[in-house]
Each structure stands twice: as structure tokens, then as C-alpha cells.
Symmetry: C2
Subunit: 205 residues, 2 copies
Amino acid sequence: MPKIGMEPVRRRALVDAALQVIGDQGTLSVTMSDIARKAGVSPALAHHYFGSKEQLLTETIRFLLRQLRQDTVRALQAAELPRDRISAIIRVSFQADQFAPETIAAWLAFYSEAQRSEATRRLLVIYARRLHSNLVDSLKRLCSADDAHRIAEGTAAMIDGLYIRRALGSSPVTAEASMRLTDDYITLNLQALSSLTDTDKGHAA
Amino acid sequence: MPKIGMEPVRRRALVDAALQVIGDQGTLSVTMSDIARKAGVSPALAHHYFGSKEQLLTETIRFLLRQLRQDTVRALQAAELPRDRISAIIRVSFQADQFAPETIAAWLAFYSEAQRSEATRRLLVIYARRLHSNLVDSLKRLCSADDAHRIAEGTAAMIDGLYIRRALGSSPVTAEASMRLTDDYITLNLQALSSLTDTDKGHAA
DNA sequence: TATTTTTGATTGACCCATCAATCAATAAAA
DNA sequence: TTTTATTGATTGATGGGTCAATCAAAAATA
């Protein structure tokens, strides 16, 4: 069996397995045995490659983050206009794999973990900042910096909130409806701002 | 030591303690010992009154929910106009005790638990439904039922999302800013709808 | 090519700590 | 005395982490 160069293969398999198990059980309180079994290896091997459960979990969230960034970069490359870029960012957040119940369950578990683990918190803050600054970059081309900040904050919150509600599984929050809701929020804000600069600045009482 | 009629006192103390410990540690993986110690009793007594850890936790989330409902009812009694009632609902969501980091950490932990525990999920769904229907009730007096639904969905998502972002502790999300952001979302939507029914239904290109 | 050596890959068995849950015993009211 | 309140001691189960040992491919050597 033992061919050389198994390390990267095993690491990847274990991270994948961790993601699956965490997503299934909806918690980080999964055992190394669970993860190892899913990956088809012994618990000892998981320790051998990752040193500790904590490090395996850290690698796992890093993987999630990396994936999300790649998707975002790709989506942004295909969009030129600021308004289109914003929609692209939103679309990535709700794309199939990200919005899958297991993935969301995993995210939720990591958010909860961030209350205890400074390392986890730092990683999630990176995600939050990245989303925010991506939004602000494009928004700035459409409104003032202040407004851009405010709108970005609201948009990010709405995205995160839709995730949570999806996690609960109440009210059939589809990916499409979520996208539309978030995109409308952007449109609404921009419209409101532009109507202020129009000749008529009020409406009938 | 043993006075009679201690049961309600102990139950309440244990639920309070559970809330504190869960909030501090940001997880439901707290020990009965932790909770009991905080409440100033032995772990055995906690089992005596609640039977199991799971039941104590269920009681704890019920307590949270009850508290939130009472606050909401009270806030709604003081508000007459639909638009004011909406603001009141929003205000309750971000009031001091609800928006405290420990409280949010506890909520987050329960959301995570809902992935596993059907009982917990059901309780959280109740909260979600209540928030939604409270919003819809007032919104319906200001717009169509369809729009009311949509706006309520967006508002609820934004509230939940602001909670999460607060939990992360990134970007100083104050309670006031959160309220304003959410309330603006309502205003923006209602304005957009009303402007559609105005005589002039467009703006300069 | 055949043989030996080396090294990465892998695991079963074990240790130790933690924790939920139980129970028998004690102490104070009623 | 009967009931209620309370706890210390105990236990069975679980899970992270360690370690010595095994196995097989690859590399070096004859």
C-alpha cells in the first residue's frame, strides 16, 4: 500500500472528511475517530499529520476560506462595471456549494468556536473584512465613501443573516431568493442616494 | 441549611448560571460542574432538579425565548402606529441585554446546537416565526402582503446577521448603529414602494 | 539482477483526563 | 418520623493523544 508522497493526499482527504463530518453533525465536537474513519485512515494517522485536533480544524477552516476567496476572485475577474461586481460578490456568497446546508452548518460551528479560539476568530475576521472591503471597493465608485461603508455593512449583515436562517431550515430560503433580497438592498440604497441628487428632491406628502 | 421551597430558587439560579457560563465560554460544551459551581450548588443537585444536562439546556433556551417575548410584548404595547411598532420590534432586538456579547454567544451556541437537536431547532424556529410575523403584522398595514413578507424576511436576516457580526467582535457594531441600519432598511423599502404610486414614477436618466 | 538498508506510511493498544449520571448518606425542616 | 434538600463519592463511557511495532516501497549496494 504505502507509496511515497501520501502526505498531501492524506492531508487533503482528512480536511475534506473533517468538513463533511462537521457539516453532518453541525459541531466541532466531532471525534478524530469520526474524521479519520470518513477519510479511511486510523485516528493515529490524523494525529501524525496534523499534530492535534485543533490544528486539523484550523487547516479545515483555512481551506474553506481559501475556496471562498478563489471563487470571489474568479467571479470578479468576469465582471467589469462596479454594479456588476457587487452582484458577482453576492452571487458567490449564495452559490450552490457555499449555501449547502452542510457547509453552512460548518460555518456556524466555526463561528461558535471563534468565541473560544482566538485563532479561529482571527480567520473569520479576515473573511468578514474581505467581504466588506470587496463591497466597499465597488460601492465607492457609485457613492460616497461613507455611504459605501454603511451599505457594505448592511449587505454583509444580510448575507450572514440569510445564512443563519438557512441553517435553521425554517422558511424556505432559496439561494435565488437570498440573492435577490441582497441585491435589492444594494439597488434600493443606490436609488435612494441618486434620487437625492435629482432635481426634485422630495415626494408628495 | 435546607430551607423548604428551594426548588424554584435553585432552578432559576441554575438556569441563570447556565446562561452565564455558556455566554462566557461560547459553547454548550460546558460541564454541569461549571454550571453548578456558578450557581453555588453541587453538580448532583443540578441533576436532581433537571434530570439531565439536556433538559437544563432546554430550559435555558426557553428562558431566553420567554424573556425576549416579554420584552417584545411590552415594547409593542407602547407603540400605536404600524411604523412605530416596527421600530419597537427592532429596538428590542438590539437592546442592551440582548445585544451583550455573552448573550449573543449563547444564542450562537444554541443555533449551532439546533443542527443536532430537533428540540432546540424547534424552539429557534418559533423565535424566527414570531419575529417574522410581528414584522409582517405591522408591515401589512403599510404595503401589500407580498411586500410585507419580503421586507420582513430581509429585516429578520439583517438582524440575525448583525448579531453574528457583533459576536465576531470585528468592526465596532454598536447597538445604535445596528438599529439605525435595520430601521433604514425598512424606511428605504417603504419609500421605494410609495414612490412607485406617486404621480411621477421615474427619475432623470 | 539480487540483496540489503533505509525511510515514509500506518496502525492497534494503551494511558489519562474529563464528564454525565447515579446513589447512598446526611441534615434540616415539617 | 417523614419529607425535602443537599452532597461526596463513585462509575461507566468517551475521547484526545502517545508509542512501539509493522509493512512496503525505494534507494543503495553487491
